[in-house]
Amino acid sequence: MDAIEVINLVKSFKEKNRLIKAVDNISFSVKKGEIFGLLGPNGAGKTTTLNILNGLVSKDSGEIRILGVDPEQNEQNWEYIKNKINVSTAYYSLSEQLTIKQNLKVYAMLYNVKNVQEKIDKLLKMFELKELENRKVVQLSSGEKTRVALCKGFLNEPEVLFLDECTVGLDPDIAEKTRKIIKEYQQKNGTTIIFTSHYMYEVEELCDRIAFMKNGKIIKIDTAKNFKKLIKKTSIELTIKENYPAFLKILKEKKIDILSTGTNTIIFEVSSSTDQLYKLMNIIFKAGVKISDMHMNKPTLEDIFIQFARRKQKKSKMSEGK
């Protein structure tokens, strides 16, 4: 059984007498224990999709199933589901006039958590907030607030966890620790996670599969590895020690795309999927060209993100689908 099933989901919002389709007939499923990434530019429909899944926004049409249950059928179903899921976001604070500990106690009671004190202490230590437990949320930095939101997210040991930009504002070391905690927690408990982030390396590091969204539609769902294969070229930066003119001549003869040239440096592109670079290197060495430095810029998820985000709607429709 899939932990989450979304079928033909549609949601529009009225804005100044205009109807804007925030989610446009999307379908996807997330397996139990999978970390599923939602990626896309601002206004792509990622957060609206999450808000429908956590019951904050009602859908126009389509179906959603969480842990095999259709929550939209009645209030009891939502209550059942909401006890088993949780959400953590950097953008919405907990009660600002309450201390961290008071907030977590209130939410522990809302989620009917057992061994409240023990669980809160464990989470506060895990996210390095123990010393701040009696500080009001309003007095915290944005990074500290983000960590409190994460504590709340883990409070009820959810079967499904929605993490919406949950590492925004964190120091790099804390963000790295947080990713480690998420990964370890997920592996230990088999939690299903839907993850959105603007940090591509984070999505690449954590997610088993990624759905790329744009203008409310899912453009493509795949693994980070397969996404990267979509970028056909790798850029190579070389510093030439000897025979620079001969090297330039070879590149021109082989019709290699040269991106830029310097006095003894050059950046050019080769195909990522073939042995073009290997063959080129052989020719270069035989011609007596000596290289003092070499950098290879492999395609990243960020390149894919930029490529997809800039792609015109017409083109995206062609490659639409799972």
Binding site: L56, E75, E79, S93, S95, Q97, L110, N112
Partner: protein, 262 residues
Amino acid sequence: MKWHRIKALLLKYFYISINSVDRWFDIFYWPIIDIFVWGFASFYIKELSNFNLLSVLMGGIILWVFVWKSSQDIATFVLEDFWARNLYNLFSSPMRISEHVASIIIFAFLRGLISFSFLILLAYLLYSFNIFTLPILFIAVAIFILSLIGWVIGLFIVSLILRFGQRIQILAWSIVWIVQPFSCVFYPLSSIPAWAKPIASILPTTYVFENMRAFFLEGRAINYGELLYAFMITLLLLVIVAIFLTRSYAKAKQSGILAKGD
């Protein structure tokens, strides 16, 4: 409705109250101001006309606190969650709207009781006015009806906030003061202009204050039949506002206001 979730929200409001001094301020500040202003005004009226209005004015101030505190606290607690952008976390939890409303109503009532007790004490110490010269049954019924009316006004404001967001927050502090002049808190129904009488006659609050005044000024027995009628109207208004609230909540989910928080 689950009691553990209502308890959790009550705990939240309790924490807000002990952490923020300003939340105690309005329990005591405005009642003190009212007691002084109307107490001194009644001295002046007595000096001019030899007519003692003190009991009528004090009784009005003390009982009105339930309408005022209930309506304002209900709206303020919901607005506070809007301001703190906390609705997202609250409504993504298993909490139901009915539990949210129940907890706010209970807490607002408790705050009303504190204001009420403080006013009784202050009126007694300053002017030797004793509210308990009124029949206990009347006081209990009056508190019940006036609290219910406060809930009706408060929930109406919450419904509007759910539909239109924070931009209508000014209503949280003003609607109750629109109701007050037509409730005949400090003057009899017979004294208000003819055009205002039909409005005052359908307000349950009018019957509570009319009975209180008749008891104090004319020594007339309380007319519980009138109070039953007032209760029936209140109940009808409560049902209407509950339907409006349910629809507004559905509308809020549709518009995404709970997620956006503005």
